[in-house]
């Protein structure tokens, strides 16, 4: 530990980590709001919001799988050529030659499924907790858009292995889109970069999957999370509020910061 202590006393360390080591509330506050990534959190949180049943951590799970997907996805890109038939060949290379290639590919695949499921459950949770009520209406809309982006990401990624599953899965899916009146045919044409699922489609799906949609997703996620904070943190089941009112507790003051905090006037 002495080494750690020495390191902690160097000016370099201090220039990066500004808070001290002692478990004082000041330091703990600093840890949060001195850190770009943590400062979406308030310094203190309601204890009940930590309960499992409060949110079932579904948003967290979605975010976690997103991070895993980004990490594994970037690594997989190192070995992937969006061309026919090399794309399929690359899957085999991952399996037979690249160390841990299969593991990363599996991880990416299963994380993608988890993300879709978790996002959907998250939506349901928020609905049944009625957590979309003012002032959270807009964040709900953002959430819905996020779900759609998630589906699109999963779908564009589906084609990339260029095996029978991918090819026909995408053929079927895009044929559904074709049915849209007026725009359907054009939409499909632009999406595939042609009239059939071909190398063009592969390239377009690749760009969408690796650049366009992830960027969109990350932007929307930041908005989503930032809004959660701005709207007073995660909203649990409505019963809580009712119960607390029953026992004469607060009126969800913290939940609606837009409302002025009642002050105790001088007698």
């Amino acid at each position: 530990m002495t080494a750690f202590e020495w390191a902690r006393n160097t000016s370099v360390y201090r220039s990066i980590i500004r808070h001290g080591v002692l478990p004082t509330n000041r330091n703990r506050s600093l840890i949060i709001f001195e850190n770009l990534f943590l400062h979406v959190h308030p310094v203190k949180v309601r204890e009940r919001s930590l309960r499992f049943t409060h949110t079932y951590w579904l948003g967290g799970i979605t975010l976690a799988s997103t991070l895993i997907l980004v990490a594994t996805g970037v690594l997989l890109m190192f070995y992937y050529h969006p061309s026919v038939p090399q794309a399929y060949r690359d899957m085999k290379e991952l399996q037979y030659v690249v160390d841990d290639g299969v593991f990363l590919r599996n991880l990416h695949r299963w994380a993608a499924h988890l993300m879709v499921i978790a996002a959907f459950l998250h939506l349901l949770r928020v609905f049944y907790h009625r957590a979309y009520r003012p002032p959270r209406q807009f964040n709900w809309v953002v959430g819905v858009v996020l779900l759609i982006v998630t589906l699109l990401l999963s779908y564009t990624g589906y084609l990339l292995p260029w095996d029978q599953l991918a090819f026909w899965g995408v053929s079927v899916g895009t044929n559904m889109a074709r049915e849209a009146p007026l725009i359907g045919e054009r939409m499909r044409f632009f999406l595939l970069g042609g009239n059939v699922v071909s190398e063009n489609a592969l390239l377009r799906f690749y760009v969408l999957h690796c650049v366009v949609l992830p960027v969109a997703l990350l932007l929307l996620v930041s908005v989503h999370i930032w809004r959660v904070r701005k709207d007073g943190g995660v909203q649990g089941p409505p019963e809580e509020g009712a119960r607390r009112r029953a026992q004469g507790a607060d009126r969800d003051v913290a939940e609606t910061p837009s409302a002025p905090r009642p002050l105790r006037p001088a007698p």
Partner: protein, 223 residues
């Protein structure tokens, strides 16, 4: 010594957009302190988040170790697998295509669902948290019954039994809720609708995923 004035206590932002307290001259205003307990975000929340992340990674890694992601033979435009299935999250739609004309199943219904989801927080009915049967009125029963029958008829015409059956069951439940006092009676109309949507979505997806074989014919998963 005067008793404090009764404060209207509502958590409904529509009924009470602003927190207003009437204070009579002969009384002293008083606000009860919040009993809400707060804890430091670090470590209480952060550690939980770290653990959550670890658990997700652990779960997924185990899945990745135990089950390989599917990889079939190279894409061959000349050889259509039977059935050709979309990714699982679209199989609900594909199942719909089996019953409805493509425009309806592939475009209309999905669009409706998305729109419905988007407008939820702006629809007044979703903001009132009154259970369906909390405020009984003369038109409610016939209206519900009519809607229900209309839906059953609509989907019945297309012979879409995976929708008809859950709809019927939920319909029964809706009216059962009227006499049941413990759980069902607390459910609001939006919750009924959403539940209906979720059940149907799940049923269709499960059927499309596990119960459809060559030519989209019905097969049992164990066959």
């Amino acid at each position: 010594m005067t008793t404090p004035l009764e404060i209207i206590d509502s958590n409904d932002p529509v009924a009470v957009p602003w927190r207003v307290a009437l204070v009579r001259p002969d009384s002293r205003p008083e606000v009860r302190e919040s009993e809400e307990r707060y804890v430091m975000t670090f470590p209480h929340l952060i550690v939980r988040e770290i653990i959550l992340f670890q658990l997700v990674v652990i779960g997924l890694s185990l899945a990745a170790i135990l089950f390989d992601a599917p990889l079939e033979s190279i894409a061959n435009p000349l050889e259509t697998p039977n059935p050709a299935k979309a990714p699982w999250y679209f199989l609900g739609l594909q199942e719909l295509l089996h019953y409805f004309p493509p425009v309806v199943a592939g475009v209309l219904l999905p669009a409706l669902v998305v729109i419905a989801l988007v407008v939820i927080p702006y629809a007044r009915i979703n903001l009132e948290s009154a259970p369906l049967w909390a405020t009984p009125s003369r038109w409610k029963t016939p209206a519900l019954a009519a809607t229900l029958l209309a839906l059953l008829a609509l989907f019945g015409i297309f012979g879409c039994w995976p929708i008809v059956i859950p709809t019927a069951i939920l319909g029964v439940a809706v009216f059962a809720a009227r006499f049941e006092t413990r759980f069902l009676s607390r459910i609001t109309l939006p919750e009924w609708i959403m539940t209906w949507f979720v059940v149907i979505a799940v049923v269709l997806t499960v059927i499309g995923t596990f119960f459809r074989g060559p030519g989209w014919s019905w097969v049992w998963p164990w066959e």
